[in-house]
């Protein structure tokens, strides 16, 4: 028997979840240490050990698996503190990454600054070489130019090199040879990223941009993981550290260091995967998960139990990262959104107080009132028990800040707080609608899964406005991300480009690409210790109609079933689109493999159904645009399966609260989660 640990680093807190051999869970939160996240991680692990009453080395010695979600890559991009990176490209394509296919984030703002540069033009060098679109060498690689480029980049202070040649995904020999030549001239270069290894598919901008980001964040992530692995080993941890990836699974730390770009955006994936499992356990169908934290608001559409995955046109920190990523749009600043006045009108967001200085009530120097301050003034948060007593909230300061904004609008603190909450709920509701419309999903057919520190405070109001009928609030809502990481599967989601009219496509080529994908995925999973019987392969073929920019992944049983994929592609388009597309023959763009190494899931915990259900206190609070005196507050941990309560009521855990409006009914599922049925 052994322990399993999930560690999720957030903006404010580092969450550590421990699963004991008997299946029970323990959650601890430590402050995040932004400069070196591994310090906060070790503090959190020490807290777990203390709570277990054993030493850290004893705990880690008995731990079989640690899964870690790190935001080191995201922070590197936010601070633009990555490696000094250079780029070698095909002659004529030096400026591809700067053109960005003409994309600009805000077309209304002529003063929008350019994105911060990863490799300025001086460190983007060209060499003669050229392949045709058939993968045939048209101009051989000029080896002398590659050597010269390496020398020049070193002279310019570069430490990490990206190489991206046109059509290299069809014929990688030039990129491979270029790596040998650079290493020959410059054996101690810190890292070389080849575009066909990072993202072996067209088009050139997406592949080159992704490769550059990989080269940029790779060295710091490798150093960070090296540091953490060493610290854990010193404390007695004897197994491979697993790291969360943006594809919604985990990878070994050595693989994550090589393909570091895959850790960017991985932070929220754990919560999403746990939300999907909780929804399935509660018998819900398709859901939207909402993770509302003190300073973030992330959501994800989960269909058939699977979080939606997006690739190609993914933009993070103003760079295109085209690898498959769980699609978790961040649509606002959560509790950190600032309430402000302009032109006699109250606005909420999009500016955020972030974790520093944070809401006024955190007493960390924030002076502008936020949604969290409004919730506090409206009695919706517990001033004393916030974050398990890690923090006492300053109600008077929050009230004063809201009153100051309200004064210019003829409103007092309570009225300003109520208007703030109403506006943020409306904005979040609209934002959810927008995200769902992109996926063609109708909110009235979905349920909501709410988690994160603030998720339960706003969830029922927003779900009702969207026409939803049920809200699930997992018992472990405050630590769901870490919990999700702990039980996440190994996921390798990779593809190979092959462009051809589908009828002309050479199935032998397709089979070779598929074999290549499968063997490298199996090798990787073997390193991670996944046995053959736990591997599942999900194939899809990438298809488009001629002229379309973005391809669709059509699931197939076998990668050679091109005919079946084309039929399904037509069918899906006809179904979704009323279109007359049969006149067009689809193009094949490539083959994709999602290889999943299943992690064994523990048996569900037996819950005490006889617990005595008594309110722990009563509080006056604002619900559904009205004050309610003496709203009973229950401890969610003592809410027994099968129990039922009618709102107004609040259910609390040490780290979070679920608010239930008048006449809504909340029951406890067999798994111990709270399920709210909304009246309409």
């Amino acid at each position: 028997m052994s322990y399993r640990i999930g560690v999720d680093v957030g903006g404010t807190f580092t969450d550590c979840v421990l699963r004991r051999p008997d299946g029970s869970l323990l959650l601890e939160k430590a402050s995040t240490t932004p400069n070196d996240q591994s310090e906060g991680v070790l503090v959190g692990l020490q807290q777990l050990a203390n709570a277990e009453g054993i030493s850290l080395s004893h705990l880690l010695g008995q731990t079989r698996t640690i899964v870690h979600g790190t935001t080191t890559g995201d922070n590197t991009m936010i601070q633009m503190s990555g490696a000094a990176t250079g780029l070698i490209v095909t002659r004529g394509f030096r400026d591809e990454v700067e053109f960005r296919r003409c994309y600009k984030e805000d077309i209304w703002d002529p003063s929008l600054p350019p994105p911060p540069s990863i490799a300025r033009r001086r460190v983007r060098l060209e060499v003669d070489e050229r392949l045709t679109a058939e993968g045939v060498v048209e101009t051989p690689l000029d080896e002398e130019q590659v050597r010269k480029a390496a020398v020049r980049l070193r002279g310019l202070g570069v430490t990490s090199v990206a190489i991206s040649f046109l059509h290299s995904y069809l014929h990688p020999a030039h990129e491979r040879r270029a790596r040998e030549l650079v290493l020959d001239e410059w054996p101690d270069v810190e890292m070389i990223s080849l575009s066909h290894e990072v993202l072996p598919k067209p088009p050139e901008f997406e592949r080159t941009s992704t490769t550059l980001v990989n080269a940029y964040v790779g060295p710091p992530i490798a150093r960070y993981l090296g540091r953490l692995t060493k610290r854990l080993a010193e404390q007695g941890y004897a197994h491979e550290l697993l790291v969360a990836t943006s594809a919604g699974g985990v990878a070994t730390s050595s693989s994550a260091a090589r393909r570091a770009v895959a850790t960017i955006g991985s932070g929220p994936t754990g919560g999403v995967s746990a939300a999907g499992k909780a929804a399935a356990a509660a018998g819900l169908g398709d859901v939207v998960s909402v993770d509302m934290g003190g300073t973030s608001y992330d959501l994800c559409l989960i269909r058939d139990g699977r979080p939606q995955v997006k690739m190609d046109w993914n933009w993070f920190h103003r760079w295109c990262i085209a690898i498959p990523m769980v699609d978790i749009p961040s649509i606002g600043a959560g509790g950190g959104s600032i309430a402000w006045e302009q032109g006699g009108v109250l606005h909420v967001g999009p500016r955020s107080a972030q974790s520093q200085p944070g809401p006024v009530c955190y007493s960390r120097g924030g002076t502008e009132p936020t949604v969290t301050d409004a919730d506090l003034v409206l009695g919706r948060l517990d001033a004393k028990g916030f974050a398990n007593g890690l923090m006492t909230l300053d109600v008077a300061a929050a009230r004063a800040a809201l009153a100051a904004v309200g004064e210019r609008l003829g409103m007092n603190a309570d009225e300003t707080a109520a208007a703030t909450v109403r506006l943020v709920d409306a904005h979040m509701t609209d934002a959810i609608r927008r995200v769902l419309s992109l996926a063609g999903a109708d909110p009235r057919r979905l349920d909501l899964v709410a988690f994160g520190g603030m998720g339960g405070v706003h969830a029922t109001t927003q779900a009702r406005a969207l026409g939803m009928h049920r809200v699930l609030f997992p018992r472990a809502a405050a630590g769901l991300s870490a919990l999700g990481l702990m039980s996440a599967d190994h996921v390798i989601d990779d593809s190979r480009g092959y462009i051809s009219g589908w009828q002309k496509a050479d199935l032998a080529v397709l089979r070779r690409l598929a074999f290549d994908l499968e063997s490298s995925a199996r090798a990787e999973l073997a390193v991670a210790g996944v046995t053959e019987d736990r591997i599942e392969l999900e194939w899809s073929l990438l298809l488009v109609y001629p002229g379309q920019t973005f391809d669709a992944a059509i699931p197939v049983d076998l990668p050679s079933d091109l005919e079946g994929a084309v039929a399904e592609f037509h069918r899906r388009n006809a179904e979704a689109r009323l279109i007359e597309a049969r006149a067009q023959e689809p193009m094949l763009r490539g083959v994709r493999l999602k290889a999943i190494g299943r992690v064994s899931q523990p048996a569900p915990l037996e819950l005490d159904t006889a617990a005595d259900l008594q309110p722990i206190k009563h509080r006056r609070m604002w619900l559904d645009n009205a004050w309610h005196d003496d709203v009973p507050v229950y401890d969610l941990a003592t809410f027994p399966p099968g129990a039922k309560l009618t709102g107004p009521v609040a259910l609390q855990t040490p780290f979070t609260t679920l608010l239930v409006s008048p006449k809504d009914v909340v029951t406890c599922t067999p798994g111990g989660d709270a399920l709210v049925e909304l009246r309409h």
Binding site: R91, G92, F93, R94, D95, E98, F99, R100, R101, C102, Y103, K104, I107, W108, D109, P110, S111, L112, P114, R120, R121, R122, T132, A133, E134, E138, R152, L156, L166, H167, P202, P203, E204, G343, V345, H347, L409, A419, R422, L423, A426, H427, D430, R433, R434, S437, L438, G501, K504, Y545, G547, Q548, T549, F550, R577, L578, I579, E580, A581, Q584
Partner: protein, 579 residues
Amino acid sequence: MAEPLIDAVTATVIRSAMETICFEMATYVSRTATTPILNQSNERNATILDATGRLAALSVGIPQFMLSSTLPVKFASEFFEGELYPGDVIIANDPYHGGGHLPDVNVFSPVFDDEGSLVLFASIQCHHGDTGGAMAGGYNVFAKDIWSEGVRYPLLKVIEAGRERRDVVLMMRANNRLPGFIGDLRSQVGAAQLGAQRLQEVIAEHGVRMVREAVEWSIDDAAKRFSDEIAGWQDGTYEADVYVDSDPVGNKDIHVHVAVTVTGNRLIIDFEGSDTRQDISAWSTFGNTRGNVVAQLASLVDPSIPKNEGFFDCIDLRVPLGCCLNPREGKPVSSGTHHPGVEVGDAIAIAMSQIMPDRCCPQSYKFGSPRQMWGDVDPRSGQPFFDHGGEVSAGWVSAAKGVDGWGALSASNGNLIKASAEINEQLFPHLLRGRNYLTDSGGPGQWRGGCGSLFVKEVRTPTRVNQYVVNQRHTHPGIAGGSNGSPDHCTVGTTVVNPAVSGVLLDTGEQLVYRFGGGGGWGNPLLRDPQAVLDDVWDEYVSVGGALRDYGVVLTGSLEELTLGLDDEATERERKARR
């Protein structure tokens, strides 16, 4: 009318809901259309209008076209007075009944309250790939009149009270070359129906009175915020002249003249004096001219001001009938939509830079026409091919105060995702030899114009080319003392394009070489931070010679040897001597 009941919070909530509905309509088209230009490049705009066609909310694809729904809807509400029913969906594309050019098709649906009174319209406008007419593609820049450009649909009820008019659909299908046209149209119809249904829900939730008042509140809010900004501008009349090199058939120096008068909190924008030659082929319809005016003005003010009818309420727009910016019915408009259409924005930016240079940056491009390349046989497939161009090319990116021009600008304003070399080379028999920035092509300024680029396409089989090129003499303007960007220059094989070629043949191995011009600079180049000039030379946006010639900056060492440095003293001397 009774005292309004609406409060600012409720009005904000309703406005946000309407903007979201616009987004949902636009997204519906992206998800369901077949044509790449619709489903992948954002060339669609969704709007919500009140019962008289006043703009209440929008979601923007292309800024210049954001307003082109208002005039057709206004026309429909007058034309169909008393004859609009719940479930109607109407189609309109006629440049001479409020539209821009024929490929832009408006589809809209009225929304009624329980008592049957008209409250709102949900409208979606999209660009289509064909319009019928003499030439495929909807861009017949050589057309002599509007009828040879394609079929005009001033107003068609494609769905009447919820029932599709099969005769109308048949007629539209028969007048278009593309098999996907009706599918795309249905996608638009679905979007308009979705918008109408969602607006119905908003009315049910808030009540029709609140919704009507929220629209008024929102328009008043925009008008107030816009007019407050105007009130801060110095009163007076500011004029500018801008020229297009030539129309596609060779008439030179198409002239746009504007006089912007600031008077209190209102603007008079008068185009009296613009080109009135009647034999030219460069006509921007009134709707298109108006859209370009407002898109440029919107870029001068706080971007958070909602874009709605409130903007128009502050502007007295005067465009004499018969000039190139408001043609008499029948003139062709394909090429004029772009030129002189976008020069309207240049003219306003230059005029306003006399009093508010800090905010001025032309929101325009110098696009000429789409580059069309076609041939009988792609040797790889044996099939004919037709390439609409559409790869990335950089150019015409002007600087704004504080920001050098950056990235690549395509029509329009960076909201089209452009095609890539790797995929286009799969589809068409050519090799893209390069598209790098051109050194010294950005207009010098305190902030430098973005560089133009050298685009070289080599054909692998005999290929014919259509191309119209502007910006060869009248280049992208500098602002506030900044210089113009470099000129465009294009050769097709050995033929220099000036101003247009039609069906020129390239033999296997020959090249189309297009040097795209740079953007205009902002401010006096002698005030540019010498360190920024040094950086530009390191990055080869500017040459060592250009640094001295255009910026008065003297450098030492060499780029090749990695020893480049600033000679501060010599730079100061040089700059002093030129002041």
